[in-house]
Structures are given as structure tokens and as C-alpha cells.
Symmetry: C2
Subunit: 145 residues, 2 copies
Amino acid sequence: MSYSEIVDMLSGKGLKVTPQRLAVLEALMTIKDHPTADAVKEYVRRSNPNLAIGTIYNILETFCEKGIIKKIKTDKDFMQYDIEMHKHHHLYCEQCDYIENYYDEELDKMLQEYFDKKQIPNFNIKEINLQIIGNYKNHKPTKNS
Amino acid sequence: MSYSEIVDMLSGKGLKVTPQRLAVLEALMTIKDHPTADAVKEYVRRSNPNLAIGTIYNILETFCEKGIIKKIKTDKDFMQYDIEMHKHHHLYCEQCDYIENYYDEELDKMLQEYFDKKQIPNFNIKEINLQIIGNYKNHKPTKNS
DNA sequence: ATACTAGTTAGGAATAATTCTCATTTAATA
DNA sequence: TATTAAATGAGAATTATTCCTAACTAGTAT
Ligand SMILES: [Mn+2]
Ligand SMILES: [Mn+2]
Ligand SMILES: [Zn+2]
Ligand SMILES: [Zn+2]
């Protein structure tokens, strides 16, 4: 995503293009790993040492409302954010808390067809996300190493 | 589940049978609705006005460790607990935050077969939970009314 | 029935993530 | 350049959850 695409994306949603928002976007796109607000802070502070943590929460919330990112909650007591907006599911590793994206169009099609046929009474389905819980056979590196 | 079954279940897991644990269990079994720690507190305080909130968290954590209940993942910033231990999925209503259990053996079988065939590289699947997000055509009562 | 003890609880303090407040600053627009 | 609605920084406040520890109790042994 180029700089001008990012600018267009933000202003297209009625958001002012601020250095803080650009920094948070860059952090989210670089880290990818479903970062916490704190991980985003660590990242952006390298270039913007006094970007306030409250501002980060503000921006993340705004991005959620505008459909730019999503929240992910595990059984931990902090929120994680996901900038990958293509349809995907999640692998939750029970041992190292790593959450990996899982893409599977065949699966999506199968589920789509299944629920087209089998309606859930009184409920309109908007999307279906799988939480696939288990463990890696050999653990992924947690961060960048 | 009778009183003596509950007693056996707790002591079978090496847990002492205390009035506090019985009260929390009763709350969970009565509320069903994936209550928060606070909802459990509200319930148990009617009969045990000075059951400490710290004790409730203690008990809930112990129950999780012993496999009596589970934590469920939402995008809210508080935990919810689930005493239904039969395999099921969840319907998340976007409008009223109600989370309903969804049972579907046919679906489970389909997923089982799918992932038996199609392995995920480097990952052992332990369980799969669907987050089915959408809205009720006419909303469910939020509490008991 | 009584004593013992490891496990449990009450109550309050502490912590950590997140939200709020508001004075100041800034991006967009004219 | 002037205007203004929106955004930010700094720190206080809030909220869910955890921690601490003295007092208590369920289960077991005597
Ligand atoms: Mn993701
Ligand atoms: Mn459930
Ligand atoms: Zn792992
Ligand atoms: Zn609803």
C-alpha cells in the first residue's frame, strides 16, 4: 500500500491524515502479528517518542469503527488488533500464545454452502471465524528472531 | 446435576467442597449466559453477601484449570465464562452482545472430516470453535424477562 | 469427638489495561 | 492566511483483575 493510497484511504473515511495515524498504521502493517496497544506503542515511539498512549488507543478505536482493523480477544486480559482484512481464521497456539492467520478458501466455500442450506433459526449470519486451537509441532519464533 | 454429583465432581478433582464454590457453581449453572465475574458476583451475593470478589476470581480460575468451565474469547475487555462443556459453537449478536450456544453435530462431523484430510502444516488441532457473528432477526431478551 | 493441616477465603491494597478530561495543537477548507 | 472542527499530549481516573496475608475451615488422622 503506497503512501498516497494510505492517504486516500484515511481521508476517504473522513479521517484527517495525521503523523500519529500514519505511524500507527505503519506499525500495524509492519508488525502484522496481531499486536497489542503496547506493542504498537513500542514500535511508534522509536520514531515518535512522545506519541501518547491514549492517542494510540484513540486511533486504534477509530480504525476499528471505520473498519480498517479488527479487535481480537483471547483469554488474556489485553486486546489485540488485526490489520489483515482479507477473510481468514486464526490458529491459537496453546503453548506460546502466538496467533497465526489461516487462509482457506475451500473451507470458506464449504461453510458458506453449509449455512446457505442449513439456516440458523432467527439469526442472520454476517461472518464466520474459526478459532483453531492447538499447538505447533515445533514452536514458531515469538517475535523477530 | 444433583448435589451429591456436584460434591463428587469437586472432590474428584481434588477440590474441597466449600459453600463459596457451590455458590459460584450454582450461579454459573443458573445464569448459563456466559456470565462475567461481576455477574457471578451479583448472583452469589444475594445468598452470600460477603463472598469476596477476589474469591470469585480465584474460584473461576481454579475451575478453568480443572476443566470445569472455560473462558470465552470475545472482543470485549472483560472475561466471560462458560460452564457448558459439551462441544458447541457461539452465535455473537452484534447488536445486543448476547452470546448464544450453537450445537451442530453435522457441522462438527464435516469439520472433523475436512481437517482429517487437510492437515495444517506444523500444527496439531485440539479443538475448533466457530464464532458465528451476525444478528438476531428479532432480538433475544438480554437477561431474564 | 478432637486436633491437625493444607487449602481456602475475606478484605483491602496493588497492578495493568484502558478510558477520560481538557488545554493545546493541527489538518483541512475557504 | 484565517477559521474551525477534529485530533493530540499529558496526566488523572476508572475498571477488571491480581496479589497479599491473617483468619478460617474441610478433610483427614488420631
Ligand atoms: Mn488475523
Ligand atoms: Mn457457550
Ligand atoms: Zn506455540
Ligand atoms: Zn441481539
